[in-house]
Every structure is written in C-alpha cells, then in structure tokens.
C-alpha cells in the first residue's frame, strides 16, 4: 500500500516536472496565461468592491468575510483547473479518436492516468492569488489566530477539492457515451457558478429548498462554503463531519462510475 502510494506520488511528480518543462518552453505564453488569471481576479475584486460600495453585507457576509470566501473559491477552483480540468476536457477526444486504448494498456491505474496526466501550470498561481486574497481579508478583519480553525480549514479545503474532483470525474465519464462532450466545460462553469457564491443567498420561498438540495443531495455548495465558514464565521462541527463524509462518498461513487463508463468504451478506430 505504502509502496503503491509512493510509486504514484513519484509518477505524479514526474508528470508534473515534464509538463512544467513543456510549459517553460513557452515562457511568454505562460506569463500571459498568469496575467489572464490576475486580470480575472482583479475583475472579481473590482466587481465586489463596486458592490460593497453600495452595501455592507451580502447574505450576512461582511466585506472582509466575503473576500475571504472569494479567495477560498479562487484557490480551490485554481487547484482543480491546474490538476484536472485540462485532462478531463481531453478525455472526450481520447474516446472519439480511440487513443484511450494507449492509456488503458499501460500498467497504471486508468483513473490516475486520465485525470492527472498533465498539469496546467498556467493556473497554478491561482492558488497563491487566492491565498493572498484570503490573508488580506483576514488582516482586514482583524482575525485572531486559532489553530483549531486553521486545522478545520485545511481538512475542509481538501474535502472541497475532493468533492469538486469527483463531480468532474463523473461529468468526464459521460463522454464515453456522448463522444462529443463540449458541454463538459459548460457543466464545469455551472458547477463553479454554484460554488462561487455563499450558501446564504439561497433563502426565502422556494430557493431555500434549492439551497438544501445543493448542500445535501448534490453537495456542490459545500465545496468553498464550508472551508470559508469554519475560518471566518461559525464553526459548525456537524457541517465539517458532513463535508468529510461527502468527500469520501463522492470519491468512491465517482470512481465506480468511471469504471462502469470504461466498460462501455468501444475503442473507436482500432
């Protein structure tokens, strides 16, 4: 087991180094990619600054709290885009051309190879940008250090990434049947558009049920809400436990679904 983990960690490191070398062959392009992300972050900050010039709270979140939330979402989203988005996006093309055969033949776990083959280093700085935004927000808030909250944040942050990854894996697996799956990007956009706002906006007639649906049935709202909440707002152990359980469950379900999907793969051109 330990040897297996070490082997995969080594392989992951190798793949990451290889893609970094490829990325660095076009340094200018890399810099532009990073500036796009910086620009996007600047736009988000400008948007919320404009909004907070007109109001003091959004769904009960004060300005520094809200910016912490935005930073948290930015970091999680950046991590997912760096590690998995490109890979998953290419999966449909692998199915369509039959090139998936080559990946299946390798003596490595298919899911690992499909989802971790390449790293998109251009979005990796998003993690740092998100972290910077979170730190600035904490300073503005006058936050006092609390080891318990930091530990809970680390755990729920990892869970958020795991939940997001599982969703993406399930969306990707659908490509086996759909062949062309440009909607994956749309799905991801939808996914992130649900995760990018605080859960508190789902209140009032009708929408409260929707909020509960996306917390307990399709738990997208846990991804960035819970880590941000345990850090700057209420510390709810029940919610943390639920998030951990959901993360474990969704990883398992998505793996089973991916394997089920692979059985339907017909190896198009060979």
């Amino acid at each position: 087991m330990v040897a297996g983990v070490a082997r995969y960690a080594r392989m992951f490191g190798g793949l990451a180094r290889y893609t970094l070398a490829r990325e660095m062959a076009f340094r200018g392009n890399f810099l532009v990619k990073v500036s796009v992300e910086l620009l996007w972050m600047a736009i988000l900050v400008a948007f919320y600054k404009t909004v907070f010039a007109k109001t003091t709270t959004i769904a009960g979140w004060s300005e520094p709290d809200y910016f912490f939330f935005v930073g948290c979402f930015f970091a999680i989203n950046g991590l997912i885009e760096t590690l998995f988005l490109d890979n998953c996006n290419e999966f449909a093309e692998l199915v369509r051309t039959g090139d998936l055969d080559f990946l299946l033949l390798k003596p490595i776990d298919e899911q690992f190879l499909v989802s971790c083959r390449k790293m998109d280093w251009g979005t990796a700085p998003n993690l740092l940008m998100g972290a910077a935004l979170m730190v600035v927000a904490l300073v503005q808030k006058g936050w006092e250090f609390d080891a318990g909250r930091v530990a809970a944040f680390a755990v729920t942050f990892a869970c958020g990434v795991a939940i997001a990854y599982s969703f993406m894996m399930m969306l990707t697996s659908v490509s086996v049947w759909m062949v062309r799956n440009q909607s994956l990007m749309e799905m991801w956009w939808l996914f992130s558009s649900l995760a990018r706002y605080p859960r508190g906006i789902f209140e009032g007639r009708g929408t409260e049920a929707l909020g509960r649906f996306f917390t307990f049935v399709v738990p997208i709202l846990l991804v960035s809400n819970v880590p941000a909440e345990v850090m700057v707002r209420v510390f709810d152990p029940g919610m943390i436990a639920w998030t951990v359980a959901v993360a474990a469950g969704s990883l398992w379900v998505s793996r089973r679904f991916f394997q089920y999907a692979l059985r339907a793969y017909r190896s198009a051109s060979s």
């Binding site: 796009v36 736009i43 109001t55 749309e186």
Partner: protein, 287 residues
C-alpha cells in the same frame, strides 16, 4: 456519428449576378448542418447556460437586501435582474467563440492559402458561417429563452413600444457586426504573433467586465462609468439591454445607434486593413 454528406446535394453554382450570393448561402447551409450534427451536446450546452442565471439572481437579491436600498446606480432590483437577463441576449448576438483563434490558426498552419487560391474571401466566408452558427444558436435556444423570460416576466415591465423594439433589433444586429469584426481584428493579429490564444483570453476576460455583462456600467464610480460608455465594448452587452429597458430614449438613443454603426464600420475597416497588411507578411507555412 458521421455528419450527413452534403456534397451530393450541391449542384454547380449558376452563373450570373446571383453567383456570389448563392456561394455564401451554401456556406451558410453547410455550416448549419455541421452545427446540428451533435444536437445532444448542443442542446445540453444551451440549457445549462441558464442555470448560472438562477445564482446570479439570488446574489443580486442578497445584495439589494444587504444594502437596504431600493435602487442601486439607477437600477431597481427588478430592473437589475431584467438587465442581467437581457445582457445574455446581447451576448448571444455579439459573442464569437473561436473566431479569432480560428483565424490565427489558419495563419499559423498555412491553411489560409485556400482563400487566396479560391474565389472566396476569408472575411466573407467567416461572416456567412458565423451567421449560420448564430441562426442555429438563436433558433435552438429560442424555446429555452422564451421559457426563461416567461418565468422571469415579473422582472419586466412588458414589451417596449414598436419604435423602441425596432431600435432594440437594430442594436442587436449591430452588436453582432461589432462583435464579429472586433474579434476578427483580434484574430488578424495572428499575422504578427503566431500565438494569440493568450492575448485573446486577456481581451475576452476584460471584455466580459467592460461590456457591462457582469453589472450595469452605471454602477461603477466616475470616471469609469462615462469612460466605458464611450468605448465600443458596451455595444456588445450593455447598450442593447438598456435600449430594451427604455433607459435610453430620443436623441441619446439615435446618437448611440449612430455611434454603434460607426464602431461596426470602423472595426470592419480595421479587420480588412489588418487582413490586407497581414497578407503581405504571410509566408504560407505548412503543406
């Protein structure tokens, strides 16, 4: 899935003055068929695009509730939601996915030369196929949009009068032309820089904000609000929406429609000029 074979249905084009028109009409037809081949993916994509609208509405509701005010930047809550819904219609006309990247790719890979040896104009070809894509998109998403606007009818004060509706239609068509030639001009940059994808991302990301797609430009502090209203980007999202809402009327409306037309022509001229100048540098790489 194999796309339906269209080659057999095409007879040689008749000679005469209709020649060019028939040619571009056929390009339109082929592009439409290509667009409809993967209908499932296309339909899911269209439907899913609506779901973020729900969260946007909820976010703005929370913002208005938090502020305790009925009006922000001259927009009441209902008007704000109506505005954000209407920018989706504006973007439906003005957004040009993959246009600039496509042009740059033709330059980089050398496939551009087919436009040079065939009696076919690059911009004309792209324009005809883009109109087809838009027709397919608008007709496929008509029902979902109609349903959405019906569900959200509470946010609207009914339809504007005939003249305003006409102005709205004109502003949307011009939004398409501005969007097309703007993005085509960006794509022409590919003659000078082989890799433009990243530059494109910067332009498009910025455009998302300065076109008023995220929030009405009136909410921004001065001088940004006035400045952004002078730039051509507002015509791709902000302007058609506020025309529909009747926030711009009379002389101001006529002035802005004129300015929109000016930008449409200006970008068309720019794209043509860049294309002509670019061709002089073009070295037809690839096989």
């Amino acid at each position: 899935m194999t796309p339906p074979d269209v080659a057999f249905t095409l007879a040689p084009p008749p000679p005469g003055s209709l020649h060019a028109l028939v040619k571009y009409a056929r390009i339109f037809r082929v592009a439409l068929i290509e667009r409809m081949t993967y209908r499932g993916d296309f339909l899911i994509g269209t439907v899913l695009r609506f779901l973020p609208i729900v969260t946007t509405i909820l976010l703005w509701r929370a913002i208005y509730q938090g502020s305790g005010q009925g009006e922000l930047g001259g927009f009441k809550y209902r008007e704000m939601i109506a505005y954000l819904l209407l920018t989706n219609i504006s973007r439906m006309f003005s957004s040009m996915p993959k246009l600039a990247a496509g042009i740059a790719q033709e330059v980089r890979e050398g496939t551009l030369k087919r436009y040079l040896i065939q009696p076919l104009d690059l911009l004309g070809f792209l324009f005809a196929s883009r109109v087809a894509h838009k027709v397919a998109y608008v007709s496929m998403s008509f029902l979902p949009y109609a349903a959405l606007f019906y569900l959200c009818r509470g946010y609207f004060d009914g339809f504007p009068d005939g003249l305003q509706m006409l102005a709205y239609a004109v502003s949307l068509i011009l939004a398409f032309v501005v969007g097309f030639y703007f993005e085509a001009s960006v794509g022409m940059v590919g003659f000078w820089f082989l890799e433009v994808t990243s530059v494109l991302y910067i332009v498009m990301t910025l455009n998302f904000f300065i076109s008023g797609h995220m929030l009405p430009l009136d909410l921004l502090p001065q001088p940004w609000s006035t400045l952004l209203k002078l730039l051509p980007f507002q015509y791709m999202a902000y302007f058609p929406a506020v025309v529909f809402q009747g926030k711009i009327r009379g002389a101001e409306l006529a002035f802005h429609l004129g300015l929109e037309l000016f930008w449409a022509v200006a970008f068309a001229v720019l794209a043509r000029t860049l294309y002509r100048t670019g061709l002089k540098r073009y070295s037809a790489f690839g096989g």
